[in-house]
Amino acid sequence: MDDSDEALMARVARGDERAFRELARRHVPAMLGLARRILGNAADAEDVAQEAMLRVWTQAPRWQPLAALRTWLSRVVVNLCLDRKRKAQWVELEAAGEIKDPAPLAGDSAETAERERLLAAAVAELPARQRAAIVLSYTEGMSNAQVAEVLDTTVSAVETLLVRGKQNLRRALAQVIEE
């Protein structure tokens, strides 16, 4: 049996709950991670991931495979995160109690670790769409075209968001970087 995302979505569109739960098992971890990176809040990320999958279920009969399901899901998650940001105050990544990578990289130095910590904190302070573009591009590894599809905008707009985001980050870290 074909268990590609498109095949499962076709079954979900016909009301197949087992196919939906298989899709959820497949995509919830990635959606949860993306939402946590954008929101910086674990509890809100769970709500967003749940809401995104419920939208998959309710809108499955109308979904057309014009883009990969993963791209569509990412767009839903990003939009839900941006809506939440408009409504609620963001929590800093540090205060959210995120699970940090316990294993330091080989050859890592305290200075590099400090720069990375400050950089991650500065990303949390970016405007919502710049932050989303930075996370999608640098953490999810998406191309500018894919990021444009997720953010429902043009490639040139994504490039502008990335340039401005990095300018803001450089400005925030100017003193540390130039040392």
Partner: protein, 112 residues
């Protein structure tokens, strides 16, 4: 710092500090999705395809439509609603062409 170095620093900072997969959170979300699901929104353009779906699952909407069509046809036939149409058709078919072409005789009223 040049652009490439900054990009590498940004990428490593975000990936290093990215949240690791949280199995407990994933299971919580999946458990919430196990609850009864809301109704799906059917696409309007799909309505005609419902009649063309040969899988017959579920069958009751199609069987109900077929039954209703049979009942309506039976009622129309029994009540004779269709007979008016038949009579109109037969009276037109029995007309003589001469009656259409020639005027009746003034004395006898008959047609040639």
């Amino acid at each position: 710092m040049i652009d490439n170095e900054f990009d590498r620093l940004l990428e490593s900072a975000l990936k290093r500090r990215a949240p690791q997969r949280d199995e407990a959170a994933v299971n919580r979300v999946l458990n919430r999705l196990a609850a009864p699901l809301p109704r799906q929104r059917a696409a309007l353009w799909r309505w005609p395809t419902v009649l063309l779906d040969w899988q017959f699952a579920p069958a009751w909407p199609r069987m109900a439509a077929l039954g209703a069509s049979l009942a309506v046809g039976f009622v129309i036939g029994i009540s004779g609603l269709d007979r008016g149409i038949d009579h109109a058709g037969s009276s037109a078919a029995n007309l003589d062409l001469g009656s259409l072409v020639f005027e009746p005789e003034t004395l006898t009223g008959e047609r040639p």
